[in-house]
Amino acid sequence: MIRFPILLDIYQRGDGPLKRVERISLPEVGDYSIGRASENQIVLDTPEVSKRHAWLLLREDGIAVADRGSTNHTYIGDTEVDQSPWDGALPVRIAQFEIHLVAQSAIGETRVNVPQDNATRAFASGSAGAPAAVPRGQSIEVALNAPNAPDEMRFPRNVFKSEIVSSAEIKASEYFAGESTYLSVGAGLGSFVWADHLRIFGVSKSEIRAIGDDVIPYANYQRLCRNSQIPPHERLRSNSQSTPDNIWGFPGYASRETWKDLKEFRFGGLKHIFQVFGEASLAQTFTPRSGEVFKSIDSEAQRIGWREMFVSGRVLGIRKTNDERYAVAYRVPEDQARGGVRERIMIGKFIHISTGYPATRFTEDLQAFKARFPEEARVFNAYENHEVVYRSIEQNPMPATVVVRGRGIVASRIIQRLYEARNKNKNITIVHQMRNPIAKNEGYRYKRAQRYVYNHIENQAFNWPKACWGGQLLRETERATPEERVKIYEALGGTTTADRRDWRNIIQLGIGDGWYKPVFGHFETLELVKTDQGPKIQMRLKPQRNQPPVEVVADYALDCTGLIGDISHSPLLRDLAETYKLLRTLGVGGGKPGGISVTPDFEIAGLRNGSGRAYAAGQITLGGPQPGVDTFLGMQYSALRSVDHMAVLGAPNVSLFGPLRSFSQWIKWCTNTKP
């Protein structure tokens, strides 16, 4: 057995002897990608490394290395390997890098006694339950220009030596990059909505900074949308009044769309108004087009001066300072290096952390398949780019079977996309794999109400019932104890899809014509089989309720089971939680802890530093007082709560925002005038 965390030393061969450039710690079972591209978890940033070079597969019972068809190959010692167990006796070599397993008492027992060719398969079956992960965003970065210093002297550990760091020392150091009253970490939608509130409440843009990967606040969200087949003209699962570009929620996206249509004499646009009027009962719920939402955010970003508040960089660590503030350490992109130095520290009085989902979920069997057959592009997570699937089945008029796994909104959209692909190839068959059937009357119950079920899928307009964003249910979750909350969340949450007429019609049509088939069961085996039509994947399922086992032979499998919310996949948050012993929420389903625990004002209580305050928003606060944190409206709510909280504390230039100021600022929004 392996004891986690696993420590790896990464050495680099320069002109002289090997130099250690980084020590990394991998916290748990998972699939860690190695490559040059920044989406890898371990980034080796030199041209000799392929963009997606290799996998490092960590299991309870051993470690394996799998090459991903890289140009310069992957070696264990001097032996080139495709995929192989790794006991750490010899280092893994990739280009001029060597990865060494740090010897510790437990590591000595990691010898994996499985036949070479079956290695990864054995791992897959031996570690059920633990989700494999392809973490993203907060990746461990090994940069080429890392300073050649002893480990403990490396950034930001060389500055962050204790729980509370000296502000004067930081200011005197070469890393100091400035001070800001309000400082947001992430620079995604959560940061944007927070900054928008601050600006409208009276704070000038020079007092706000947001550090993150991309100047476009919705860049990451848009990528997930695009990959999960929501192009600009497709609609999001979001309400009309959930408006990240407008803190009032009025006018909503429905009236804006209607207005736009009416200006062009398209009177059909009036139907959106009717949708909002009668939504859920008389009409299908209105949802905005993704492209319109992004455009509206662009325009608001322009209005509040987002570009001037944005700081490009990847945040590596956060510490309290000795003058009641916070030090945020980050690394800027190479083109912004200052005399070769990319490391920076900025100091903030009120910080806000909103870094989003740490990882994409990948079910164990599909991940193992990927590692065993890296050259077979046959299984994908719906949130990664999988255009190749549609291209291949649309261009090739041969029969093709696609397995869609999961019953959430992404699965619904992917099925719609495959239905569209059928216009080009009538031989496409969809096999929809779900864990278990759900009968009409088996929907979740909460108190007196029950959720509606259609085609074995629970239906709900949004990912939580509406009253979770400001109604009776929000009241209940805010007042509940952590234990009660878990029970409420179990009843209200779960996987659901939206009740869309077009989606229902597709399912009905598909069942009638025989090209859509739901199958139920837990995965048993996943194999690559050779058939007359070339290689295919063969999946065996163990069904429930004494049914015979199901076998599916398919060309592609798309995993629509979602994203990983566990914050231990983020090195930044893990470090923060460990250093300050931050409270975590209780994870739904028991066992693992959930997000970072916050107060109803979204303050991270454990990070309070005198008069300094730290807030969090978005997915990383899941399981806290508000259920729908990872939504547009949820971010508006958390931003309003934390900014209101600061206003009461007397934070500089944050007004109490009464009715008159609210109205006059709204007029400014309408006329696109700077706040």
Binding site: F250, V276, K466
Partner: protein, 159 residues
């Protein structure tokens, strides 16, 4: 809308004060003839009748709110669509008309002065104006002034 019972009551009182009272005041000036008392200090004529109707509308609404809230418990989303708000506002007004017809306001003035078709037409027009503006307010006007209202289940005040 996702109101709680307290939120329903407070929103109703808010609409009564902000929209109901000013509009009703205009109506009371219109209804007033030379026979009516004089508003002290300003010297305007007014009639109390529109205020009596408005108060009845408020009272019926406050009594109906627990019924709506109970019905909401059977909705999975615990919401109250705008269409319901629209429909039940009219139901409430019909109840008010029935009460007047039945004689709840008979103590205020002689039946012959109260139960005229002209008056009933006026009540309907009066209600129509108040209702239309209230509905627009609920659709978005309130949150322009009170940004926290939509997150507070229809209650007033800070978070």
């Amino acid at each position: 809308m996702v109101p709680t019972l307290k939120g329903r009551w407070l929103t109703r009182i808010l609409l009564f004060l902000w929209i109901g009272v000013p509009i009703t005041f205009l109506f009371s000036l219109y209804v007033a003839g030379p026979r009516s008392p004089i508003l002290p200090y300003i010297g305007w004529h007014y009639d109390i009748l529109p205020f009596q109707i408005l108060s009845l509308i408020l009272l019926v609404g406050l009594v109906m709110d627990p019924v709506y809230f109970y019905a909401q418990q059977y909705r999975w989303e615990r919401d109250w669509p705008f269409a319901y708000f629209f429909f039940f506002s009219i139901v409430e007004f019909v109840i008010v008309l029935a009460l007047v017809w039945w004689g709840v306001l008979d103590f205020t003035r002689p039946r012959s002065q109260l139960h005229t078709s002209e008056n009933y037409l006026l009540f309907t027009f009066h209600f129509g104006c108040v209702f239309l503006l209230s509905f627009i307010a609920v659709l978005g006007l309130i949150q322009i002034f009170m940004i926290r209202w939509r997150f507070k289940s229809g209650e007033w005040g800070r978070m």
